[in-house]
C-alpha cells in the first residue's frame, strides 16, 4: 500500500527525469547551469500561480482570473513607481490589489451563488482590460533597483524569486496541514453540504481561498514585472492561466475538489516549467506550447476522473442498492422532504 502511494507521488518526478533526459539529448544547451537558472526563474512564476490555483481547486472551485490579475498587478506596481512611490509600497499595493480582486471574486461567488467558473471568467475580462486602459496598451519601463531586486536579485547566490516560492510553499503547506482553515478547505471541497452542517463557515472559507489566490497572483505579477524590468499590460494573458491549472492537476490536485497537496502541486509546476523551457531550448515553435500543455491537462484530468471512478466504482454500485433499499423500506418522500 505504501509502495503504491510512494510510486503514485514519485511518478511525476520520474516523468520529469525522463523529460530532462530527452531535452538534454536533443539540445546541448538544456543541461547547463545558465539554463537551469532560467528554468527555475520562469518556474518561480508558474509555481506562484500554481499555488494560487491549487487553493481554489481544493475547495472545488476554479480561478480563471489568475493570469489577468498578474498583468493588472504588474502594471499597477509600475504606475505607482512612475508616480514616485517607493518600490516596496508599489509591491505591497500590487499584492493587496491581488487580494482585493480575489476577495471580490469570493464575495460574488458566495453571495450571488454564481458558479466560480463564470465569476472568475468575468473577472478575467475585467482584470485584463484594466492594465490596457491605464497604459493605453503601452509597456512601462522600470528602473528602480529595489524593485528589480525582487525578480533579479540574489541572496547567498540564490535568486530571490526562488526563495520567495520556497517560503510561500512552506507557509501554504503549514496552512493546509496545521490550521483550522486548512482542514475547512479540504472539507468544503469534499462535501459542501456536510461541511456546512459541521459548522464550517462556508462564506469565510470561500472568501479566504479566493483572496489567497489573488495574493499569489499579485505576487506573481510583481515577480514577473521585476524580472523583465518592464511592465507589459499583457504579461499574464498568455499561457499563465493555462500553466497554473495544468501544473496543479498534473501535481495531483483534483479538479473536483478535496484532494491535493502543495508538494504535488509544486512538482507539477516544476514539470510544466521544464516542458515550457525545454521546448524553447530545442527550438520548437512557441505556437506548439499551448497544444502540448492542453494535452497534458486532458491527460491529468483523465487520470483524475479515472481515479475517482475506480475508487467509487464498487461503492457506487452498492450505494445505489442501499438507497433503493432504504427508499423501499421507508417510502420515497422522506428523502425529498429535505430537498424542497
Amino acid at each position: 500500500m505504501n509502495i503504491k502511494k510512494f510510486l503514485n507521488e514519485a511518478s511525476i518526478l520520474i516523468v520529469w527525469l525522463i523529460l530532462v533526459g530527452i531535452f538534454s539529448l536533443l539540445s546541448p544547451n538544456f543541461f547547463q547551469t545558465t539554463n537551469a537558472v532560467v528554468l527555475l526563474l520562469n518556474g518561480a512564476i508558474i509555481a506562484l500561480i500554481t499555488l494560487s490555483q491549487s487553493f481554489v481547486l481544493l475547495t472545488g472551485g476554479i480561478d480563471l482570473s489568475t493570469g489577468a490579475v498578474i498583468s493588472m498587478t504588474g502594471i499597477v506596481a509600475a504606475v505607482f513607481m512612475r508616480s514616485g512611490a517607493p518600490w516596496y509600497v508599489a509591491a505591497i499595493v500590487a499584492s493587496l490589489l491581488g487580494i482585493f480582486a480575489g476577495v471580490l471574486n469570493g464575495l460574488v461567488i458566495h453571495y450571488a451563488g454564481i458558479p466560480p467558473f463564470i465569476v472568475t471568467f468575468a473577472a478575467m475580462g475585467v482584470a485584463s482590460a484594466i492594465p490596457m486602459i491605464i497604459t493605453r496598451a503601452e509597456s512601462i519601463k522600470i528602473a528602480d533597483p529595489g524593485f528589480l531586486w525582487i525578480g533579479q536579485g540574489k541572496v547567498f547566490s540564490i535568486p530571490v524569486p526562488i526563495i520567495l516560492v520556497v517560503i510561500c510553499a512552506i507557509l501554504s503547506t503549514i496552512l493546509l496541514k496545521s490550521t483550522i482553515i486548512g482542514t475547512h478547505i479540504y472539507a468544503l471541497g469534499g462535501n459542501r453540504l456536510a461541511a456546512r452542517l459541521s459548522g464550517v463557515n462556508i462564506m469565510r472559507t470561500t472568501i479566504f481561498v479566493y483572496g489567497l489566490s489573488g495574493l499569489f497572483a499579485g505576487m506573481a505579477g510583481v515577480v514577473a514585472t521585476s524580472r523583465l524590468g518592464v511592465a507589459y499590460p499583457q504579461t499574464g494573458t498568455g499561457n499563465q492561466l493555462f500553466y497554473s491549472i495544468a501544473a496543479a492537476v498534473v501535481g495531483g490536485v483534483s479538479l473536483f475538489g478535496g484532494i491535493g497537496k502543495i508538494r504535488g502541486a509544486m512538482s507539477g509546476a516544476l514539470l510544466i516549467a521544464t516542458i515550457s523551457n525545454g521546448m524553447n531550448v530545442v527550438n520548437i515553435s512557441s505556437y506548439w506550447q499551448p497544444l502540448v500543455i492542453g494535452l497534458i491537462i486532458l491527460a491529468g484530468v483523465g487520470f483524475d476522473s479515472a481515479r475517482t471512478l475506480t475508487k467509487n466504482k464498487g461503492k457506487r454500485g452498492r450505494s445505489v442498492i442501499i438507497t433503493t433499499k432504504i427508499k423501499g423500506l421507508v417510502g420515497k418522500s422522506s428523502t425529498r422532504e429535505g430537498k424542497k
Binding site: I180, T183, A194, K327, S334, G338
Partner: protein
C-alpha cells in the same frame, strides 16, 4: 422501436383487461419489503393503495414502473407475463408513473415537454404544427388553460403536475400510477386531479392506481382499495364493501405482534426521576412549509417526533439547526433567545445535529473518521491559537471512538467503514461537541440491528450522564417506542404540540395518531 413494443402489447382498449401482480416478493437482505403479494388491477377502475411508512407501497410502485426487479413473482399485463429491467421498458409497455416530484424540464414549452423523447417528425424536421395541435387537445383534457408554447416555468406547480399526467397520456399509457400526487396541491386542485383520474378510468377505460396515505381522499375517489402492512396485503376490496374502521385496522397492522416486540425492549431502563429544568421552548414556529409548531423540552428528556413522510419532521429539525430559515415564532434555549441563522450559529449555542442522509450531507468522504469527528470543534485543539495539535486531536477522538466501539480502519478514509460504523462516527461527532441539545434525524437508518442497539444504548447513557435534551425523528415505530420518553406527532407540516407519554403508546395507536392526527 418504442412504437413497435407498444403495438406488440396493444389490444382492444374497449373490452375489460387487467394488470396483475402474481406472488410478488421483494427482499432487501433479511428484510421483506413485499411478501407474496397477489393483486389485480382492472381496467376502468381507480385502485387505491394505502399503507403506513414502510408498508411496501413504494416498493410495489417501483416494481410496476420498472425501477426494481422483484426477488420472486411476476407481473401480467392482460394475462401475458411481462418483465422490465429498465424503467423505459415499462413506459414502452404502456405503464406510466406520475411521481410526487415534478420531472419535466421547466425550460421547455408545453408541447416540447409533452413530446420529449418521442418527438414527431415530418420530412426529417420537427412537425411542430402537429405537436402543437395534439398538445392543445391534451391541455384541454387535463384542464390546463395555457397556450402550448408556454414555457413550463411560467406555469403553476399544480399545472405542471397535471402536465406530468398529460405526458403519460400522450405516451399512450394504459396504466397510470400516481405516487402521492396530492401532497403539493390545494383542495380545489385536488378535486380537479380526481376528476381527471375519473375521466381516465371510467371514460377511457384505463387503469389508474393511486398510492396515498390520506384515507379520506382514497375513499372518495377510488373504486377499489388495497391496504398493505409489513409487505403483505391486509385488506382488498370494493370501496363500498370496506368501512373506514376496517381499513384503519388493516393499515395499523398486526396489533399482537407489534405489541410483543415493544415489550421485549427494555422497559426496565426507566431513569430515576431527577429535578428537570426547561431546556428548549419553541413557540408558534412557522416557515414556508411549517405552521405553528410549539413544544417544550426538558433536560434529560428524549422527545420522539413521529409522522408520515412529508409531515415536516426533518424540516423542523433542520430549522432548529439553522439549516432552513423560519419566518414566524420564537425559540428559547436555556432561557435565552435562540435565533438559528446557520448551522455555525447552532453549533456555537451547543446544538448538535445528526443528518438523516449520512452520504449526502453527513460526512466528508475524503477525510478520515477522526477528521470528520473533530471538524466542528477544531478550535479546541490549537496551539498558540493558530496551529492544530494533531496528536491531541487524534487522541481525544480515539477515546470516543473506543467508547463507541467503532470497528474498522480508522486511519483510512471514512468511506472504508461500514454503514453502521460511519453512523457511529457521526454520532461520536455530535457527542464531542458536548451539546446541550441533540437533534437526531433517523439515527439508525440503513444500519444493521447490532449497531442499532448500540446506538440506542449510547443515546440512553448520554441522557443519563449529561445535562442534555434529545429530539429524535424516526419513521420506525419500534425505535420511537424503545428509547423516547415522550412522543409528538407531526402531520402536514404542523403539530398539535401535545406530548404523549411513550409508556402509554404502542405501535398501533402511534400509527393511528399519525394517520388521523387526533391527539
Amino acid at each position: 422501436m418504442k412504437k413497435d413494443v407498444s403495438r406488440e402489447v396493444g389490444f382492444e382498449m374497449t373490452r375489460e383487461w387487467t394488470l396483475s401482480a402474481e406472488h410478488l416478493s421483494q427482499e432487501f437482505g433479511s428484510t421483506k419489503a413485499l411478501d407474496d403479494v397477489t393483486l389485480i388491477f382492472k381496467s376502468g377502475e381507480i385502485h387505491g393503495i394505502v399503507g403506513h411508512n414502510g408498508a411496501g407501497k413504494s416498493t410495489l410502485l417501483q416494481i410496476f414502473s420498472g425501477a426494481l426487479s422483484p426477488t420472486s413473482g411476476g407481473i401480467n399485463l392482460d394475462s401475458s407475463p411481462i418483465s422490465f429491467i429498465e424503467p423505459y421498458q415499462a413506459y414502452a409497455a404502456g405503464i406510466a408513473c406520475v411521481y410526487q416530484e415534478l420531472s419535466l424540464p421547466i425550460n421547455l414549452t408545453i408541447w416540447q415537454s409533452l413530446f420529449l423523447g418521442h418527438e414527431l417528425r415530418k420530412n426529417g424536421l420537427l412537425d411542430k404544427k402537429e405537436m402543437r395541435r395534439i398538445s392543445t387537445t391534451i391541455c384541454k383534457d387535463i384542464e390546463v388553460d395555457a397556450d402550448s408554447d408556454t414555457i413550463l416555468s411560467n406555469l403553476s406547480v399544480s399545472q405542471r403536475q397535471l402536465l406530468e399526467i398529460g405526458a403519460a397520456i400522450n405516451r399512450k399509457a394504459k396504466v397510470i400510477l400516481f405516487d402521492e400526487p396530492t401532497t403539493a396541491l390545494e383542495p380545489t386542485q385536488i378535486s380537479l386531479l380526481f376528476s381527471i383520474m375519473r375521466k381516465l378510468a371510467h371514460e377511457q377505460n384505463l387503469i389508474v392506481v393511486l398510492v396515498d396515505h390520506r384515507l379520506d381522499e382514497v375513499l372518495s375517489v377510488c373504486d377499489r382499495v388495497t391496504a398493505l402492512a409489513d409487505g403483505k396485503i391486509r385488506l382488498s376490496g370494493k370501496k363500498n364493501e370496506i368501512s373506514i374502521g376496517s381499513l384503519t385496522d388493516a393499515i395499523i397492522g398486526n396489533r399482537e405482534k407489534s405489541a410483543g416486540e415493544v415489550i421485549t425492549l427494555d422497559q426496565t431502563l426507566k431513569r430515576e426521576q431527577r429535578k428537570k429544568s426547561l431546556l428548549l421552548e419553541v413557540r408558534h414556529l412557522g416557515s414556508e412549509r411549517l405552521h405553528d409548531i410549539s413544544l417544550i423540552l426538558e433536560e434529560g428528556e428524549i422527545l420522539g417526533i413521529y409522522g408520515l413522510n412529508g409531515s415536516g419532521r426533518s424540516r423542523f429539525l433542520r430549522t432548529l439547526y439553522g439549516d432552513l430559515s423560519f419566518t414566524n415564532g420564537e425559540i428559547t434555549l436555556l432561557g435565552s433567545n435562540y435565533l438559528p441563522s446557520s448551522p455555525h450559529y447552532a453549533l456555537s449555542k451547543g446544538v448538535a445535529y445528526l443528518s438523516e442522509e449520512r452520504k449526502k450531507d453527513g460526512f466528508i468522504p475524503l477525510l478520515t473518521p477522526t477528521e470528520n469527528m473533530t471538524l466542528p470543534i477544531l478550535h479546541l485543539y490549537r496551539r498558540l491559537r493558530i496551529f492544530l495539535n494533531h496528536t491531541l486531536k487524534n487522541s481525544s477522538a480515539l477515546v470516543i471512538l473506543k467508547k463507541l466501539n467503532v470497528r474498522g480502519d480508522i486511519s483510512g478514509l471514512i468511506t472504508r467503514l461500514s454503514g453502521g460504523n460511519q453512523q457511529k462516527v457521526l454520532f461520536a461527532r455530535s457527542i464531542m461537541q458536548k451539546p446541550v441539545l441533540l437533534l437526531l434525524d433517523e439515527p439508525t437508518k440503513g444500519i444493521d440491528i447490532g449497531a442499532k442497539i448500540e446506538i440506542y444504548d449510547l443515546i440512553k447513557s448520554l441522557v443519563k450522564s449529561e445535562n442534555i435534551g434529545v429530539i429524535l425523528v424516526s419513521s420506525e415505530e419500534e425505535e420511537i417506542l424503545s428509547i423516547t420518553d415522550t412522543v409528538m406527532i407531526f402531520r402536514n407540516g404542523t403539530s398539535s404540540g401535545i406530548k404523549n407519554k411513550t409508556s402509554e403508546l404502542d405501535v398501533a395507536n402511534l400509527r393511528l395518531l399519525a394517520l388521523q392526527g387526533k391527539n
